[in-house]
Amino acid sequence: MLDPAKEFKEHMWPYEVDHRGAEEGGAAYFGKGKSFGYFTTTSGGWQLDGEPYTVGEGSEFQWFRSRIIGGRTNHYGRMSFRFSDYDFKPYDRDGLGTNWPISYQDIAPYYAKAEAFIGVTGSKEGIRSAPDGVFHEPPPPKAHEILIKKACERMGIPCIPNRRAVITRELNGRPPCHYCGQCGRGCLTASNYSSSQVQIFPAMKTGKLKIVDMAMAREVLTDRNGKVVGVSYIDKRTREEKHIRCRAVILSASACESARILLNSKSKSFPNGVANGSGVVGRFLMDTVGFGLSGHVPALEGLPHYDTDGFGGAHLYMPWWLWEKHNQIGFPRGYHIEIGGGYGMPGIGSFNRQARKFGYGKSLKEGVRKEYGTHVGFAGRGEMIPNNHSYCEIDPKVVDKWGIPVLRFHFKWTDYEWKQARHMERTFAEIIETMGGKVIGLSAAERERDGISVPGTIIHEVGTVRMGSDPRTSAVNGFCQAHEAKNLFVCDGGPFVSNPDKNPTLTINALTWRSCDYLAEEMRKGNV
């Protein structure tokens, strides 16, 4: 089980390990190192030994999985944005996709509860695309961010304090952030949010939660009458099949993994898999549209050096600003912009660019000094429209090493997403040039060489267990409760009907809280 005290590498210098972060045999140089670098928190990867997934011909998709307590919340970016009122009714606005069965008013109280509990920074702005919440005080902007904000002001783009799940005052015994900027390594003081440290470990202390770790869920079990009665799983330590009987089952395995469990839960009552009478489980798979651009800013050359670590991410961000201008921009839906820059802790590969540019010797050494901290980066995170070419299904031929049939992915970006990515590109270039800078490259050239992120790589995959009020076109209702089984819930990104440009975790927290309140009430009433 995850042990932060032993496993988190917060505050370690690269020279504290002989390989400096390149890992044994220089694995990082061959693209075989730990995802997001050696020093990041214990997590999973794009490929897991013995647990494959497949991708249909002509498609590209990458699936990040974390087989650990807290899953991907241990390493995620912690951007915490509320959906806007209009995000719940996308079909009403542009005739694309489907409306959610719930509205902003339904979820707003739960956004407030989630924010108050996990702790989110922010400021009151009154911007429709980015509803205000219950916020901790945000840290002040860094020097490069002040220039970015100035450029945005000229361009009419709002640039506001970032909303991240980091606390800047004490909360439920968690001390405030100490501004080392290393959230991705795991926070020893739990000053950032992860479900492991903020929800699961405290819940374990109540004595009412039992964790069965090293358990690979195979299927949801149903009785002869089609009632959900439990879950079967493989004990990874012994490879024995075991099961748990229970009154209610809540799947929070991540959107695609939950879909996989449902699709693999076939019985006479549920020939397509439990909760899949509609056939929508696995369909409507969405990721976030990603595109990044970086620039060199001469105004930052010669800047007196200072500590730019901050609270572990940019201190400002740009919410979507053109929600009333879709007729003019030529594509539906929007994106927000995330910022990079500052004097990062040197690590493996930090100065590759300068090494190439300056050759070697005195000019290289001086070039590194001159350019260090003078680059800014912009990452667009946008909404895709669900389409018929993007889905996951059970691969009929492949099982993992536990004998569980695996997922096969199909995915296509459409013109909507490509147009949006080109708009990001023009916008970022203009911001860089307005700051007096020059575009120097794609922020993640490996993945974004084609001008749009590889599907799955933004790790915002949602939609595969869609919610709706009509059991013929959705798997769960507005409370994430299966239409076909009252004691079965899916509480992750699966029930998302659309994937607005707001990173999904805060909304998953809010939806889950709402589902749990509902479930508790239903159990009290004897309905479950």
């Binding site: 390989h19 220089g26 040197p346």
Partner: protein, 238 residues
């Protein structure tokens, strides 16, 4: 290297004798123990190699010659200057030796690369890289860097972004189709990136770039002078 206050060489370690012997004949000793600059540079380099190879670090994969060649390359790639020491001082040869000893592919890149470099230098100057004069060594590296730049420009022509005016300063990072110096370009790219990584992830390198973070503070603030400087130098001044 012309700083006469710096001791050019300290005599006394018996273990260094063999390393010095090969160049002893080339050294002209003048009164006061000082040597001609070029010879001194080489003695200096060899003395350091000796220190590293006989220090606490035990070579794992490379021969003494290979290890010392990486040491010389490290000095050329990130040289010592008035601010900080060299990549050799920062342990670049040890870093590369350790990782290469754990990975056959990486090991082959370096043993093969050094051998290629020595063969190329023998063709040109009749001596292996390590024994060549400093200007012969840098001339070789200049050739490799120029070949790399030409290859890169050629490769970028085919890229999606080449047609956009925004990308005129685009610098992608990858290995490009080589010229007849290709093996050297590929090897030097590896030697350089690992040497640069070794330097900037060391205490010396982190201090060199004046990284101020990795702290633990109760309130985050940005100094006013920093903000003033950035604004003053930006298009938003005044």
């Amino acid at each position: 290297m012309s700083n006469t206050n710096e001791p050019l060489i300290q005599i006394g370690e018996v273990s260094r004798r063999d390393a010095l012997r090969s160049i002893a004949l080339a050294v002209t000793v003048v009164a006061g123990g000082q040597m001609k600059l070029e010879a001194a540079q080489q003695v200096h380099a060899h003395a350091r190699e000796e220190k590293k190879s006989t220090g606490s670090y035990k070579r794992k994969l490379f021969t003494e010659h290979e290890f010392n060649t990486l040491g010389r390359l490290a000095e050329l790639i990130v040289p010592a200057d008035s601010v900080s020491g060299s990549a050799r001082d920062a342990g670049a040869p040890e870093f590369i030796d350790l990782l290469a000893s754990q990975n056959e592919d990486l090991g082959a890149i370096f043993t093969g690369g050094i051998s290629w470099l020595d063969a190329e230098m023998r063709h040109r100057h009749s001596v292996p890289f390590l024994d060549a004069k400093a200007e012969q060594q840098t001339a070789m590296l200049d050739l490799l860097v120029d070949a790399e730049k030409t290859d890169r420009e050629r490769a970028l022509k085919g890229m999606t972004y080449e047609s956009s005016e925004h990308y005129k300063d685009f610098q992608a990072y990858g290995i490009y189709a080589p010229s007849d110096l290709g093996p050297g370009v590929v090897f030097f790219d590896w030697a350089r990136k690992m040497t640069v990584d070794a330097f900037y992830t060391s205490e010396i390198g982190i201090k060199d770039v004046d990284f101020r973070g990795n702290g633990s503070i109760s309130k985050y603030e940005v100094p006013k002078e920093v903000i003033d400087y950035a604004l003053k130098h930006s298009p938003f001044a005044g």
